[in-house]
C-alpha cells in the first residue's frame, strides 16, 4: 500500500531551524522576550550539532585582559583562521558582545574560567594577543537546552526542516519531516531563524574517503540552511572559499586546536618556526598559516608529519587531556589509551583533512542576524564562525527575530499551498519508489564530483565539466532516490540539499578567477587584490545570479 505522509501544522511567533549552540541561544533570547518560540531540531538538542559533546575554545574580547581598544584584537582576528570574509563592523559587534555571553554561560553552569580566572589559549602566535579562552564545554548542549526550556521555548526533536515557505517577498514558515515516523510538519511563523550549522558530507570525509561519517564537524550538519535559503531567494556569500583543517590522521572528530605538541618531521625537526618545545598556551600555530605543510612534506619526500608531545610533564599532559575531554574527544582519548599510544613516546601522525573542503561561506547575515529576505534571520555556522560566533549571533538573531515577531501579524499561507502540495508529492515519491538509488549512492557520487572537479585544483574547464556532471546527477537523484523508512528519507533530503549547495560552490568557484587561500586556480595562479571582495549568489527566476560586493564597511 502506498505510503502517505500525515500532516501536522504548527503555528509560532519565532521558528528556529536547528538547535545547536546558535539555535538554542536564539531560543533562550527570543523566548525571554515573551514570544512563542519553537525549535525544530533534526536530532536531539542535548547532543546535536558540532557542539554535541563539547567544545573548549571561545573567541572573545575581554577589556580587562586585552585593554580598552578592541581594534588590535580585530586586526589579530583577521590574521587568524577565521579572518578575511567578514566586514569589520560585523567582527567588532562579535567581539564587543562576547564578554556578555561568556558571563551568561558561566552563570548558567558552563565553566568559562579555569581555577577562577580566564585561561587565554590557542589559535594565536607567540608574542601576540590571544583572543580565545579555554572553557569546559562538555555539558554545554544540555545546559543550553535546559535554559531554553526554562524560558518557555518548545523543542521539537527529530524534525528536519528542509524548505522555507515564502510568498516571494517574505519568509512565512518552513516545511519539515519527522525523521522517525512518516509525517510532514508545516510551520507557520512570523520570524524564522536558520541555524543548521556547517556543510559536512559535501566532500569525501577528512582523511578517509571510504568512511563517510568520519567528519571533523557533525556529519548531520549538511548545509540544509544554505540550500533552503538559496531556494527561497536569500543571498549567499563566499561559497567558493573552502576551509582546510588538520588533526590526527584517520580520526577526524578532533582537529588540532587543543593539542600541545610540536609538529615535527620523522627525524624530529620542527616543521614550523613558532615553537620548538610543547606549549600548552599556543600549541603549534604553524598550521594556522601553513595548512599545506603536510602535503608539502609528503610531496617533497620528507613526510609524514607528527604531533610530538615529548617534553610535557605529567601535569601538563593531564591539562591537555582535560581540555580534549571537554572538547568531546573522549572516543579519541579512549582509543589512544586502548592502543597504548602516549603521544609523548609515540608522536601521533597529523595530516590536513584534505578531502574535506567545505565552504566557509553561506547564508549572508548582518550584525543583527538579518538575511536579505524579510522575516528570515540566520546565525552560527550558516557562515562559518565557530562556537563564539554561534553563541553571540544566535543571541543577537533571537533578539531581533523576537522583536520582529512582536510587531508582525501571522501571514496567510494560501499562496504557498500549491508549492507545499508539490513538495509533499516529491517526498512521497521517494518513500514509495521500490527500485532506485539509495541516498548513500547519490551522496558518494556527489562527493566524487566535488573532489575531482572543484577540490584541491579548480579551473575553468574542470569546473564546467564538473558542473555539468553534478546537474546530471541532480536530475537522476530526483528521479530515482529511494527511502525505505523515515531515517533514509531524512538522509535523502539531506543529499538533495547537498546537491544544491554543491552547485553553488561550482558556480561561485567559476566566477572567482584568481587563486585565494585554498581556492586554487592554476588557470589564474595569483591572488588578485582587486578581488578581495565577496561573491554574492542568489536565485532569481529559478537561475543563480552573481554579484561582487565590497568587504569594506
Amino acid at each position: 500500500m502506498a505510503i502517505t505522509l500525515k500532516e501536522r501544522l504548527i503555528e509560532t511567533d519565532v521558528l528556529i531551524i536547528g538547535g545547536g549552540i546558535a539555535g538554542l541561544m536564539s531560543a533562550i533570547k527570543a523566548a525571554g522576550l515573551g514570544v512563542k518560540v519553537v525549535v525544530a531540531e533534526k536530532a536531539n538538542t542535548n547532543f546535536s550539532g558540532a557542539g554535541a559533546t563539547g567544545n573548549d575554545h571561545f573567541m572573545c574580547y575581554i577589556p580587562e585582559e586585552h585593554g580598552p581598544d578592541v581594534e588590535p584584537i580585530i586586526d589579530e582576528f583577521q590574521l587568524g583562521q577565521q579572518g578575511g570574509l567578514r566586514k569589520r563592523n560585523f567582527i567588532r559587534t562579535w567581539l564587543l558582545r562576547s564578554e556578555e555571553i561568556i558571563k551568561l554561560w558561566d552563570d548558567w553552569g558552563i565553566p568559562m574560567k579555569h581555577n577562577g580566572k580566564y585561561e587565554f589559549s590557542g589559535h594565536a602566535f607567540p608574542g601576540q594577543p590571544i583572543h580565545h579562552i579555554h572553557y569546559a564545554g562538555k555539558d554545554q548542549k544540555s545546559i543550553l537546552t535546559q535554559q531554553a526550556l526554562k524560558q518557555g521555548a518548545e523543542i521539537l526533536n527529530r524534525v528536519m526542516c528542509f524548505d522555507l515557505i515564502t510568498d516571494q517577498e517574505r519568509v512565512m514558515g518552513a516545511i519539515g519531516i519527522n525523521t522517525r515516523v512518516d509525517e510532514m510538519v508545516i510551520f507557520k511563523a512570523k520570524s524564522v531563524i536558520l541555524s543548521t550549522g556547517s556543510v559536512m558530507r559535501l566532500y569525501p570525509a577528512s582523511t578517509t574517503p571510504s568512511w563517510m561519517f568520519n567528519t571533523r564537524l557533525s556529519p548531520t550538519c549538511v548545509g540544509d540552511g544554505r540550500a533552503m535559503a538559496y531556494r527561497a531567494g536569500a543571498e549567499l556569500v563566499s561559497m567558493e572559499i573552502p576551509i582546510l583543517r588538520c588533526g590526527p590522521v584517520y580520526f577526524a572528530r578532533a582537529g588540532k586546536g587543543t593539542w600541545a605538541g610540536v609538529l615535527r618531521d620523522p627525524d624530529g625537526k620542527p616543521v614550523g618556526p613558532f615553537v620548538t618545545e610543547p606549549d600548552n598556551k599556543y600549541g603549534d600555530p604553524v598550521v594556522d598559516v601553513y595548512q599545506d605543510v603536510f602535503m608539502a612534506y609528503k610531496d617533497s619526500g620528507r613526510g609524514p608529519v607528527y604531533m610530538d608531545c615529548k617534553g610535557l610533564s605529567n601535569d601538563e599532559m593531564a591539562y591537555m587531556v582535560h581540555w580534549l575531554r571537554n572538547e568531546g574527544n573522549v572516543a579519541l582519548l579512549d582509543h589512544l589509551e586502548a592502543e597504548g599510544i602516549d603521544p609523548r613516546d609515540k608522536p601521533v601522525e597529523f595530516r590536513s583533512y584534505h578531502y574535506e573542503l567545505f565552504p566557509r561561506g553561506g547564508v549572508y547575515y548582518d550584525e543583527t542576524g538579518k538575511t536579505s529576505l524579510e522575516g528570515l534571520y540566520a546565525a552560527g555556522d550558516e557562515i562559518f564562525g565557530g562556537i563564539s560566533g554561534a553563541a553571540v549571533f544566535g543571541w543577537i538573531a533571537g533578539e531581533h527575530a523576537g522583536h520582529r515577531a512582536k510587531e508582525t501579524r501571522i501571514a496567510s499561507m494560501d499562496v504557498a499551498k500549491v508549492n507545499i502540495e508539490k513538495i509533499k508529492a516529491k517526498i512521497e515519491a521517494i518513500r514509495n519508489r521500490r527500485v532506485g538509488a539509495t541516498w548513500k549512492e547519490a551522496n558518494i557520487c556527489l562527493q566524487q564530483i566535488m573532489f575531482d572537479f572543484t577540490g584541491e585544483i579548480r579551473s575553468e574547464t574542470l569546473l564546467d565539466a564538473g558542473l555539468a556532471a553534478l546537474r546530471r546527477l541532480k536530475v537522476k537523484a530526483l528521479d530515482s532516490l529511494i527511502a525505505h523508512n523515515p531515517h533514509d528519507l531524512c538522509r535523502s533530503l539531506e543529499v538533495l540539499n547537498l546537491l544544491d549547495v554543491g552547485e553553488l560552490v561550482f558556480i561561485t568557484a567559476r566566477e572567482r578567477k584568481e587563486t585565494r587561500g585554498k581556492h586554487k586556480r592554476p588557470d589564474y595562479p595569483f591572488t588578485n587584490p582587486q578581488m578581495a571582495k565577496m561573491i554574492v549568489v542568489k536565485r532569481v527566476n529559478g537561475e543563480p545570479v552573481l554579484e561582487w560586493r565590497s568587504l569594506k564597511d
Binding site: 536530532a43 554535541a52 568512511w211 556529519p219 572528530r253 608522536p347 601522525e349 531515517h487
Partner: protein, 75 residues
Amino acid sequence: MPPVINEESCIGCGKCADACQCDVYFGYVDGETAKVTYPEECWHCNACVFVCPVEGAVTLRIPLPMMVLYQEKGN
C-alpha cells in the same frame, strides 16, 4: 563497528537511542535492548556512552579505517 551494546547488561532504558544525533539506533522499540541499525553513521561523539546508566553496556569500537597512526619510539 561502533557502538557495541552488551546485551546482558543493557537494561533497555533507551537513553542511547534518544541521545544519538546520527540516529544510528533508528527503529528502537521502548523497553527493548538497543540495536545499532546504522553503525556506519556513527560520529564517535560518545553521547550514548555518556548517557548510559550501566557502566560498559555501550562502548564504542573504533573501526579499522579510523585507527590513529603514530611513530614507533626509536625511529
